[in-house]
């Protein structure tokens, strides 16, 4: 059952990820990204991380992708503005590079026979692993500094956006 779900979700992920980069119309790309995030959420569930799965759907598939779509629709690009497909040789090179990078990651994982059991049996996990409570304890415990530092990051990004976008300095 788990294997079947895994295969199904991975297939959805692979197909929609490919669609994101191959579709010419940005709206189709963004919508493919939604279905990719859906498949990814299922994969997170299979890895016993229900909280991350829920966040994946709510934050990425829900909020961020809606923003993407808004921006694309506001720009309302016409067919001619999207331009002709160009750089065929460059694309071939990029595809080749992507395959090499993928192999660089996949081969080591396949090579290790214990890859599947690296995380140990379920009983080895902390109780309530992957729950909101568990994640929260981590955020305000061992990872408190990293959690707080993200707010510096967001502040800097906000200032940067304002200073680039506003009319008069």
């Amino acid at each position: 059952m788990t294997d079947l779900l895994f295969l199904l979700a991975s297939a959805v992920c692979l197909v929609s990820a490919l669609a994101v980069v191959t579709r010419k119309n940005p709206i189709y790309s963004a919508l493919s990204l939604v279905s990719f995030f859906g498949g990814l959420a299922v994969l997170f569930l299979l890895l016993r991380a229900p909280f991350v799965a829920a966040m994946q759907l709510i934050v990425y598939a829900g909020a961020i992708l809606v923003l993407f779509l808004f921006v694309i629709m506001l720009l309302s690009l016409k067919e001619e503005e999207l331009g002709k497909e160009k750089g065929g040789r460059f694309k071939l090179f990029a595809a080749g590079l992507a395959v090499v990078l993928a192999l660089l990651v996949i081969l080591p994982v396949l090579g290790s026979e214990t890859a599947r059991d690296d995380f140990g049996p379920e009983s080895a996990l902390a109780p309530r692993f992957g729950s909101a409570e568990h994640v929260g304890m981590g955020l305000f415990g061992n990872f408190a500094l990293a959690f707080e530092s993200t707010s510096i990051l967001i502040l800097a990004a906000m200032m940067g956006a304002v200073v680039i976008a506003k009319k008069r300095v």
Binding site: V105, S112, F143, L145, I152, M159
Partner: protein, 489 residues
């Protein structure tokens, strides 16, 4: 649930002070009189930097970790934070007149300089990969925005856009590398990764991604493509900050990750071969490409950008010679980066001094006759260029000497020879502006000094003094660099 105490709070000071300064600057900005110089903002920024500076001295001591091991308070991080905070303080304090003329002396300019400094210090002190990533991002995002802050100028926007896109690409590499390393070891703390028996091939893949990402951030060949355009297009004050601070902080994290997590003492020593192989190629490429391309430049900022690629190569040579051991090679790299941050900040401060109304004074031919008209500026610029060329009695000479010696002792003979040959080559393009300044008559009217420039003069004087002092009496700082590297153990 871990408990946090006073030690944790004190460890926040080096990067917390600039952050607090940024918040105060943002709150003060709306209450200042419009169309008047924004000096108070610069003073607040300077004060927060000085607090951070004082906290470094206070924290200086034996290695401790805070925040469940996320942050390391050791001589290594504090030593480079010293250079980073000095660079940040000089930039904030010295470029008010430049910023006013360029029309960018808004609160955000100072606040972004301060948050960038905060991110750099965080990066220099980070002891786990999560904080390394966050430090890189806080620093980079602030600097992208700063590069494009004169957004009515097309070149500035082009610089910011190129820097942003390639930087985001590099960040993705760093993050993917971190994910793979975590997958292989189950750890993000650097010292624990070292003692973890792991799936070596997966670890090597992650390390490769990480090295590529860091290569982008420090501008090493073949990942240097963004450097010339970003350095040329960004306003001179920002470029100096970028060249000195971003590079120092990037190398701090680079060196710490390689030595602590993947060094010779790690339980899978074969991975240290992976990065040594990658880095000696990058080092050789950077030294060759940077110096050769710099020969052909007519724009001073662009020439300095290519020279920064070359200097990345020399610093990488030190890291390669160190081979991940806590010894002379790594210390030489650390000292090199420390000294480089001063000698590269200097020329950009001089450019900022000579620029008027937002038009950067950047063509090498324009320098003609500067020796008679502005003897002080010309003298300082000559000193910085001589230091970059690696001539005594400057820090550039001492730094190169130690890097080359440790590389030679480590058996990297060909790489050392390449370093020496490219250094000789570089003397040509560093001396050309000096010859122009003293031996040609001015072709165009040179800008005269205005009273408000005193802060810039002061900062250039301090930087020049640092370059000379580090070159004449380097032993104390070399000892500090060695102590810094030893504190990584």
């Amino acid at each position: 649930m871990p408990t946090f105490g006073t030690a944790e709070l004190l460890s926040l000071l080096p990067f917390g002070c600039p952050l607090l300064g940024a918040l105060v600057v943002l709150l003060m900005d709306p209450f200042l009189v419009k169309d008047r110089p924004k000096l108070p903002l610069a003073y607040v920024g300077l004060a927060s930097m000085l607090c951070a500076w004082a906290s470094l001295g206070f924290l200086w001591g034996d290695r401790t970790v805070a925040w469940s091991g996320a942050l390391a308070i050791d001589r290594f991080g504090l030593f480079l934070s010293f250079a980073i905070i000095t660079v940040g303080a000089l930039t904030v304090f010295a470029t008010t007149e430049y910023a006013r003329q360029a029309g960018i002396d808004c609160g955000e300019y100072y606040a972004l300089l301060l948050t960038a400094t905060s991110g750099m210090v965080l990066l220099a002190m980070a002891n786990d990969l999560l904080l390394v990533f966050l430090g890189i991002e806080v620093m980079s995002i602030s600097v992208y925005a700063l590069a494009g802050i004169t957004r009515t100028r097309q070149r500035s926007i082009e610089a910011a856009m190129k820097y942003f896109l390639l930087g985001a690409f590099a960040t993705a590499f760093v993050l993917y590398g971190i994910a793979l390393i975590y997958g292989a070891t189950g750890e993000i703390r650097l010292d624990r990764i070292a003692h973890h028996m792991a799936n070596t091939s997966l670890l090597a893949a992650g390390l490769t991604f990480l090295v590529i990402g860091f290569g982008f951030k420090v501008g090493a060949a073949p990942f240097h493509m963004w450097t010339p355009d970003a350095y040329e297009g960004a306003p001179a004050s920002v470029t100096g900050f970028m060249a000195a601070g971003v590079k120092a902080a990037g190398f701090a994290a680079f060196l710490r990750v390689l030595v602590v997590a993947f060094g010779a003492g790690a339980s899978s020593p074969e991975v240290s071969v992976v990065w040594t192989d990658l880095l000696w190629l990058a080092s050789a490429g950077s030294m060759l490409l940077g110096n050769l391309a710099a020969l052909a430049q007519t724009n001073l900022k662009r020439m300095l950008a290519w020279s920064s690629v070359a200097h990345t190569g020399y610093a990488l040579l030190g890291i390669v010679a160190g081979e991940g051991r806590v010894g002379a090679g790594s210390a030489a790299a650390l000292f090199y980066v420390f000294g480089y941050s001063f000698m590269t900040l200097g020329p950009f401060l001089v450019i900022a001094l000579l620029s008027r109304n937002g038009e950067d004074f950047e063509t090498i031919d324009d320098l003609a006759g500067l020796g008679q008209r502005r003897p002080l500026a010309a003298g300082a610029l000559s000193l910085f260029l001589l230091s970059l060329a690696g001539l005594p009695p400057t820090v550039g000479f001492v730094g190169k000497l130690y890097v080359f010696r440790s590389a030679f002792d480590g058996g990297w003979i060909y790489l050392t020879v390449l370093g020496v040959v490219t250094t000789l080559l570089s003397v040509y393009y560093y001396l050309r502006p000096i010859v122009l300044m003293y031996m040609r008559d001015a072709r165009r009217e040179l800008p005269v000094a205005v009273p408000a420039d005193w802060t810039t003069h002061f900062a250039i004087g301090l930087t020049a003094a640092a370059v000379l002092l580090l070159g004449l009496t380097p032993s104390g700082y070399l000892d500090a660099a060695l102590a810094g590297v030893l504190s990584l153990r």
